[in-house]
Symmetry: C2
Subunit: 540 residues, 2 copies
C-alpha cells in the first residue's frame, strides 16, 4: 500500500503543478530571464517611479535563508490618498470598456513576467518554486481576469443609454437617458504574506476596473511581488495616457500604514486578507469604507466511508503537505467516527484511518529533496512556533520533521504534525492553527461530524470543507450541512483535484456566508458595491 | 401668461396621474369594492393570521381628519425573528425560480387590491386619492417587480450546475459542480410615513426573492397599507405551501421595535427609509446586518436659461406642489443667478424668475377644491410646524396658505411656502426642510450654482437634481457636477416629466453615491449582498 498511496499523491501533485511551465507558452529562455530579473532586485532600492522622500525601507527575508535586501520608498497615507483622488476623474470618465481593456493589458504584461514574479513569490512566501510560479503567476492572473470580467459585466448589465417613450395626452413623452458608472472612491488592498499576488489581485482589479484608484499595501514580509505588479500596472496606465497614481505601492516595515490608510476618510473600499483579529478590527473601524475581508477559519474534512481508501489517503496527504498547510484553504480538522469506516479494503478502525493518514503524509514526504518541492519553507517565526508547540495540544500521531533543503541550507522546512483529539476538545480544534498542523478528531458518528462541521464553521468560519462517503444519503446530508454552514464542499476527492485548490471561473473561493470571509471570489456581491450608477435625462 | 402656466402644470398633472384608473384594467366596480374593503377595516382589529397575545395596538390618524381606529396585534422582536428563522430553510431550498414566481404572484394579488390600498395609503399619508392609487399602487408594484427581476437576474447570472474538465496526465479531471443560492438571513424592512408601500416594496421583494424571510416594520403612522400587503403575501405563501412567517408584520405604536429588530443578532439585512438621524444610527449600530438606508437630502434645481419660460414655471410649480412637497424627491433649493437669466421671453431678472415661480404655484393652487387633489394633506404635526416656522428662515416670496378640503372638513392642507435666500445662507438651505418649503437662492453665476450643488449634495446628499439651460456647455457642466456629487440629474423638464418622479425599469431612484442613500432602486449593489453562493463539487 505504501507505494500506491505515494504514487497517487505524487501523480496528483504533478498534475496540479506541472514540473516546468512550457517554453512554448512563455518563450525560450523565459525561465532564465525571469530568474535574472528577480535576482537583479536583490540588495538594491526597488526601481520605482513613485515619488519618495529619499529614505528607503524594507525588511523582507526569504524563508529559504537567502539575503533579499530590497528597499522601497516609504509612503504616507495622506500623500497616497491625495494622489489617488487626483487620478480618479479621468479614469472614471474613460468608461468601463477602456478601463477593462487597460486592466486586461496589465494582466497580460504581468503574465509575461511570471517567472520573475515566481522568484519574488518563492522568496517572500516560502512556496516551492513551481507552486510559486503557478499559484503566484497564472492562477493569480486568472483570478484577476475573473474580477475584471465580473466587474465589467456588473457595470454593463444595464444599458448606458436609453430612449424612453411614454404615451400621453397629445404627443408621447420622449426622454433620452444616460447612465454613468461612478466609482465608490479610493480603494486600498492589504496583502498577506503567503499569497501576495493571488489574494491581492482580485480586489486590486475589481476596484480598478470599476473606476477606483487602488493603493496596494503589501504585507511587510511580501512586498516584492506586489511592487513588481504595481510597477507593471503604472507602466501600462501611463502608456494608455492615464495617471500612474491610479495604482500605488504603500510599502512599510511595520503595521501602522494599513490602519492609517483603511481609516482615512477618503478611502472608500478596503480589501484585506489576513488574521481574523485585524480583519474584525477593520470591519469595526474602517466604517467609512466598504470592507471585504478574508480571515481565518477551521477547514474541515468529514470522513464517513470511501470506495478508494488509498485514493483518499493520497489526496489527503497531498492537501496536508502542500506548502506545509500554510494555505487558507488547507484542511485542519479531520472528523472520523470513533467506530471506524467502511472502505474498498474492508472496515477500517478509527486508529487504522488515522495511521493511514499519518503514514500517507510521512511516505509522501519521506525523501527530503523531493519533499521540499511540495512543502516549501515555513513563512514566519509565528508559524514555526505554532508547529513546534502543537504537541502540547494532544496526542501526536505524526511528528513534524525538519527537512534539509538540498539547495538552500538555511531554509526552514517542516512537515505537518498531526494531533489526535476527541470531539469534546472543541476549544482546541474549534479555532484556527495556521500552518502544518492538523487534527484527527474522533466523533460519535458521521451525523455528529456534520454537527461539528455546522457548529465550528458557523462560529469560526472556513474556506473549504470536504466529505468522503459512498452513501448518497450522507453526501446529501453533508451538502445540506455545508449550505447551513455556508461553506464550499468537495466530495470524494481521491485524484488530482484537492480541497485546497479552486479554479477561477469555475470554483468560488469563500462564500461570504460564514465568518471566514465577507464575500466570494468572484460573485456579484464582490464587485457590485465598488461602483454606482448616476443618470442624466433630458427631453429628446 | 397666467393661464398658460397653469394649463401646462395641469396638463402635466393629469398626464402623470390619469383622472381615474381604467375600469378596463381593474374591472367594473373595482373602485367601489376597493373603497368598501378599505372602509371595512376602520374601527376594528385588523384581520390577520399572525399570532398575538390578545392585546391590540394602533394609533394611526388620517391627515384628512377621519377616524381610522384600526388595531393590530403587538409583536416582540424575539418571536418574530424566531418564526422567521424557522421559515427560512424550506424557502431557501425552493430555489430562485420558485421564489421569483411566488413573489410575482404576491405582486399580482397586490395589484388586484390597488383601490383598497389606495384608500389605506391616502388616509395614512395624506396623499390625494389619485396619487395614493398610482404611487402607492402600480408604481410601487413596478418597483417590486423590478426588485424581483434584478434579484432573480443576480442569483442566476452564473450557472447553477456545471461539468468541469481539465486535461491531465492520463484521463482528464472531470467534476460535477452545483451552486446553491443561500440567503443572508432574516431581513427587516422599516417603512416610512409618506410612501409606505413604494419605499418598502423594493427591500421587501429584493430580500424575499433572494431567500430571506422578511419582517415588515411599518411607520406607526402608516401601518395599514403594509398590514394589507403582508396579509396578501402570507396568503400567497401559504397557498404555495410555504410558511407564512416568511413575511411578518411588526406593528408598534412607539419606536422601540425597529431598534430591537435592527440590532437583533440574527437579523442580517435592514432596509430603512426615513430620517438621516435614525438612518445614520442604524448604519452605526446594526453592525451585524447589511444596512440599506434612504435618508434626507437637499434636492437642487439649477436655473441657468430656458427656451420655454412658461414650461419651466409650470413644471416647477407642479413639482413644488405635488403632495405638498412631502416627497424625498421634491425640489428644495432653486439656485438662480443674481443677474437673472435669458429666456424665450427675453431676459428675466432674478426677481422676475422668483415671482414667476411663486406666481406659478399660487395660480396652480388657486382653486381650493382642485388644489387639494394635487397637494393632498399634511402628513404630520412635524411637517405642519416646519411650514409654519418657515417665515423665520428668510424673506417669504410666497406664503403658505391653508386650503379648505371640500370633502374632509378636518383635513390639514397647506400650500408651499417659498423663501428667498442668498448663497451665503448655506446654514439654512444646506440641510433638509422636509415638507412644502422651498428656497430660491441668489448665486453669483451658474458656475457658482453648480459649486453649491456639488458642495451641499456632497455633504448632505440628494435624491434628485435638475438643471435648466439652453447651453450645451452648461448642460455638460451640470452633468459633470451631478456625477461629482453622485446625484441623478434631470435636464430642461418643461412638460409632463417631473424631477420628483422616477419610472421603475428606466430611472434609478437614488444612487448610493451621496449621503441621501446607500444604494439605488434597483442596481446590482441593491440586490447582490442579500445572498451568497455555496458550491458542492464531486468527481463525475
Amino acid at each position: 500500500m505504501d507505494s500506491a498511496v505515494k504514487a497517487i499523491a505524487e501523480r496528483a501533485y504533478w498534475s496540479a503543478y506541472p514540473e516546468s511551465p512550457s517554453p512554448r507558452v512563455y518563450g525560450e529562455g523565459a525561465a532564465e530571464q525571469g530568474r535574472e530579473a528577480f535576482e537583479s532586485y536583490l540588495g538594491k532600492p526597488f526601481p520605482t517611479d513613485q515619488p519618495g522622500n529619499g529614505a528607503w525601507i524594507g525588511a523582507e527575508r526569504s524563508p529559504y535563508g537567502i539575503e533579499l535586501g530590497v528597499t522601497y520608498p516609504p509612503a504616507s497615507a495622506g500623500e497616497l490618498v491625495s494622489a489617488a483622488r487626483a487620478a480618479l476623474p479621468a479614469w472614471r470618465d474613460a468608461g468601463p470598456l477602456a478601463r477593462a481593456l487597460t486592466c486586461v493589458e496589465i494582466v497580460n504584461r504581468i503574465n509575461k513576467r511570471s517567472f520573475e514574479l515566481a522568484g519574488a513569490v518563492q522568496h517572500t512566501t516560502g512556496q516551492a518554486f513551481v507552486m510559486a510560479f503557478q499559484a503566484g503567476g497564472p492562477h493569480a492572473q486568472d483570478r484577476a481576469l475573473e474580477a475584471i470580467a465580473y466587474g465589467y459585466a456588473a457595470m454593463t448589465a444595464a444599458a448606458g443609454h436609453a430612449r424612453w417613450e411614454k404615451p400621453a395626452k397629445g404627443d408621447p413623452l420622449v426622454m433620452e437617458k444616460t447612465f454613468t458608472v461612478v466609482p465608490r472612491g479610493v480603494a486600498v488592498v492589504i496583502g498577506c504574506n503567503t499569497f501576495p499576488t493571488w489574494n491581492a489581485y482580485p480586489g486590486l482589479f475589481a476596484s480598478l476596473v470599476t473606476g477606483n484608484p487602488v493603493i496596494v499595501k503589501p504585507h511587510p514580509g511580501a512586498i516584492l511581488p506586489l511592487a513588481i505588479t504595481v510597477q507593471i500596472a503604472r507602466t501600462v496606465l501611463a502608456e494608455a495616457g492615464f495617471d500612474p497614481a491610479l495604482v500605488q505601492l504603500a510599502a512599510e516595515e511595520g503595521q501602522g500604514l494599513a490602519t492609517d490608510l483603511a481609516t482615512h476618510p477618503d478611502v472608500r473600499i478596503v480589501d484585506f486578507t489576513g488574521s481574523t483579529e485585524y480583519g474584525d478590527w477593520l470591519e469595526a473601524n474602517a466604517r467609512q469604507a466598504l470592507v471585504h475581508t478574508e480571515k481565518a477559519g477551521v477547514n474541515t474534512i468529514v470522513v464517513d466511508s470511501t470506495d478508494s481508501f488509498k485514493g483518499m489517503l493520497g489526496n489527503l496527504a497531498f492537501s496536508l503537505s502542500l506548502y506545509s498547510g500554510q494555505m487558507c484553504t488547507a484542511p485542519q480538522n479531520i472528523l472520523i467516527p470513533e467506530g471506524g469506516i467502511e472502505t474498498d479494503e474492508g472496515h477500517k478502525s478509527f486508529d487504522e484511518v488515522v495511521q493511514g493518514i499519518a503514514g500517507g503524509v510521512s511516505r509522501l514526504l519521506g525523501d527530503d529533496a523531493r519533499a521540499v518541492e511540495l512543502t516549501g519553507a515555513i513563512v514566519s517565526a509565528d508559524v514555526l512556533a505554532r508547529v513546534e508547540g502543537a504537541p502540547s495540544l494532544g496526542e501526536v500521531v505524526l511528528e513534524s520533521r525538519a527537512l534539509k533543503h538540498p539547495a538552500f541550507t538555511d531554509a526552514v522546512v517542516r512537515t505537518p504534525v498531526i494531533v489526535k483529539l476527541d470531539a469534546a476538545q472543541e476549544d482546541v480544534y474549534g479555532r484556527e492553527h495556521f500552518g502544518p498542523i492538523a487534527f484527527v478528531v474522533a466523533t460519535a458518528s458521521t451525523g455528529d461530524s456534520l454537527d461539528v462541521l455546522r457548529r465550528t464553521i458557523g462560529r469560526r468560519g472556513a474556506l473549504t470543507a470536504a466529505v468522503y462517503s459512498t452513501s448518497e444519503e450522507v453526501l446529501r446530508a453533508a451538502e445540506r450541512a455545508a449550505v447551513d454552514a455556508g461553506v464550499n464542499l468537495s466530495c470524494n476527492l481521491t485524484g488530482g483535484v484537492f480541497v485546497n485548490q479552486s479554479a477561477a471561473f469555475s470554483d468560488y473561493h469563500g462564500t461570504g456566508a460564514n465568518p471566514a470571509a465577507t464575500a466570494s471570489l468572484t460573485d456579484p456581491g464582490y464587485v457590485a458595491g465598488r461602483f454606482y450608477l448616476v443618470q442624466s435625462r433630458r427631453p429628446a
